[in-house]
Amino acid sequence: MFGIQDPGIWSAYLLMIVCLLFSIWFGIRTWNKEDKNDEQENEQSTDPKNEES
């Protein structure tokens, strides 16, 4: 595959392509997907009671 005979090498290339395709699919699918927990957590982060001293 890819002009490479050793599966130990061509599988690395193949998995890199799979990883890239997954990241593209995942990134596009979740590009604008909100997480319902985010707002609540962000509110807590601005709470002065949580300030690290």
């Binding site: 002009g3 995942f26 957590e41 807590q44 982060s45 709470d47």
Partner: protein, 521 residues
């Protein structure tokens, strides 16, 4: 290209960096801005900064040279960089880290674990490991950048080191994390564009396609130098012989050591806490993977194929044409690309060094000024970032001094030393803070100690690559390592230390689980 033209390009680059540092300074109002960019960093800038911090000059020049010498097996490192460093890191660690950081209002990695486990000792322990261990890693990057400037301009190494350090110090101390992020983003774009050009130009020059190039490289496996054949080298499109010395180095040190080590890097973890929402981390997965496959994937691929170029132009393979592995990529670029690109590629290398170094300085400064001495400079103004700026300055002075104090042999191992220590020491406690709510502070602290001590022991007495240049084992026993039998001295310390640290946290948690269970993650 003349030194004058080169100088003008570098001066323009430095002015742009200075302007971005100034922009960071103008937009930094308080300590939260200085440390986390107010948690409202643009996701594209965050992802680019993550990638640029991840990839240092040694990843391009050093591992590119490894690819030219030992072949395409190094692409497993690129795969792990993408899979562990981006997909796993962002999806399984990043999202929970961001939420945990927001919940506790943590601004640094030590604060994140310290607040989660409700232990000031854990916070100070982690910050101390960072402040003491990271300067060694920073010294590698500093010296690498300075050597590169020395070679390009024919400048004295000491002057080059001073100039390089002062430039990075300038925008980190003044601009804080915003200065670091803005400059990182620019540097990431330069690195990305350079590698993309290199990929297309190389195939254009050689006149073959992807599969044909690989096939031709496979056919010259008989030209592997004898000294590398003895180490297990079977050809540039073949994995090293299983169980050989080269196989252990590739699999345990490079692939597992760096691939797993990247998950617990404080300067990378803190970037997850800089964005406002989970969706912005999701966007980072796409940007990060595309960035890494183009930058790292290209240099490893073209690095291996450079053997065909050297064979065609000089009649020998890369490692025979250039004996010093670290000089293969710079000289190959100089020969294969147009003159103007050599100058741009120099900016690429400088960018890779500067982006990693600035993140290191900032992380060390934060550990000192926000974690260990958190009240420093904040008596009058609780929002002051003076303590952290002081910490950054001290970290820079310490790293600078290490470049002169320690031998080159030890400094050269700084990256793997620090990454190995980070993974074995921090990873189990960090993972459990996100996924195992029963983990107690006692179990976490025990795991941190075991990971640190086991790493140090393995580096000082077991792993030849570190133990030999440090020389403590030789001083005490008369041997470089305690076990001289192959493969024990070739196995990376992470394979000893990380399992011990993991076992400690599991046993500790089962023996004494956390009493007060907080709300579900």
């Amino acid at each position: 290209m003349s030194t004058l033209t080169l100088g003008i390009i570098v001066i323009i680059y430095m002015f742009v960096l200075a302007w971005l540092g100034y922009l960071g300074y103008r937009r930094t109002k308080d300590q939260s801005d200085y440390l986390l960019g107010g948690r409202k960093v643009n996701p594209i800038i965050m992802a680019l900064s993550y990638g640029a911090t991840f990839i240092s000059a040694s990843a391009i020049v050093g591992f590119g040279g490894v690819a030219a010498t030992f072949g395409m097996g190094i692409q497993w490192l690129c795969l792990l960089n993408m899979f562990m460093g981006v997909v796993v890191a962002f999806i399984f660690f990043g999202r929970r880290t961001r939420r945990l950081g927001a919940r506790h209002n943590a601004r640094t990695f030590p604060q994140l674990l310290g607040l989660h486990y409700e232990s000031k000792t854990i916070k100070v322990f982690i910050a101390t490991v960072i402040f003491i261990g990271m300067p060694l890693y920073a010294a590698v990057v500093m010296k690498g950048g300075a050597v590169f400037i020395e070679q390009m301009f024919g400048m004295d190494l000491h002057v080059a080191l001073l100039i390089f350090t002062l430039i990075v110090a300038g925008y980190v101390i003044t601009g804080g994390i915003k200065g670091v992020l803005y400059t990182d983003a620019l540097q990431a774009i330069i690195m990305f564009a350079c590698m993309l050009f290199l990929l297309f130009w190389f195939y254009h020059i050689m006149g073959f396609g992807f599969s044909e190039g690989n096939r031709q490289l496979g056919e010259i496996s008989t030209l592997v130098p004898d000294k590398f054949k003895a180490l297990g080298h079977q050809g540039w499109t073949m994995m090293p012989a299983s169980g050989s010395q080269q196989w252990f180095t590739l699999v345990t040190s490079l692939i597992l050591g760096v691939g797993i080590g990247c998950l617990a890097q404080p300067q990378l973890v803190v970037r997850f806490m800089m964005v406002e929402s989970t969706k912005q981390l999701n966007r980072g997965v796409l940007i990060g993977c595309v960035f890494l496959i183009i930058t790292v994937g290209t240099i490893y691929h073209v690095g291996a194929l450079s053997n065909l170029y050297f064979l065609k132009t000089e009649g020998v393979v890369a490692s025979d044409a250039i004996k010093d592995m670290d000089k293969i990529i710079p000289l190959f670029i100089h020969k294969v690309t147009p003159d103007w690109f050599s100058a741009v590629f120099m900016l690429c290398i400088l960018s890779a060094s500067m982006s990693t170094l600035s993140a290191q300085f900032h992380t060390m400064g934060a550990s000192f000024g926000a974690d260990v001495f958190s009240k420093l400079g904040r008596k009058k103004d609780p929002n002051s970032s003076m303590g952290v700026r002081t910490g950054v300055l001290l970290a820079i002075i310490l790293s600078y001094a290490i470049c002169y104090m320690l031998s080159d042999g030890i400094i050269a191992r700084g990256t793997s030393l620090f990454m190995g220590v980070c993974a074995a020491t921090f990873l189990p406690a960090y993972f459990c803070s996100l996924y195992w709510k029963k983990t107690s502070k006692e179990a976490a602290l025990a795991s941190l100690w075991v990971g640190l001590l086991a790493s140090l022991f393995a580096m000082l007495f077991l792993h030849k690559a570190e133990a030999a240049p440090i020389g403590l084992c030789n001083l005490l026993t008369g041997h470089d390592t305690l076990i001289d039998t192959f493969p024990w001295f070739a196995i990376d310390p992470i394979l000893f230390a990380l399992p011990l640290s993991v076992i400690t946290i599991i046993v500790g948690t089962l023996a004494k689980p956390r009493k007060e269970i907080e709300k579900d993650h």
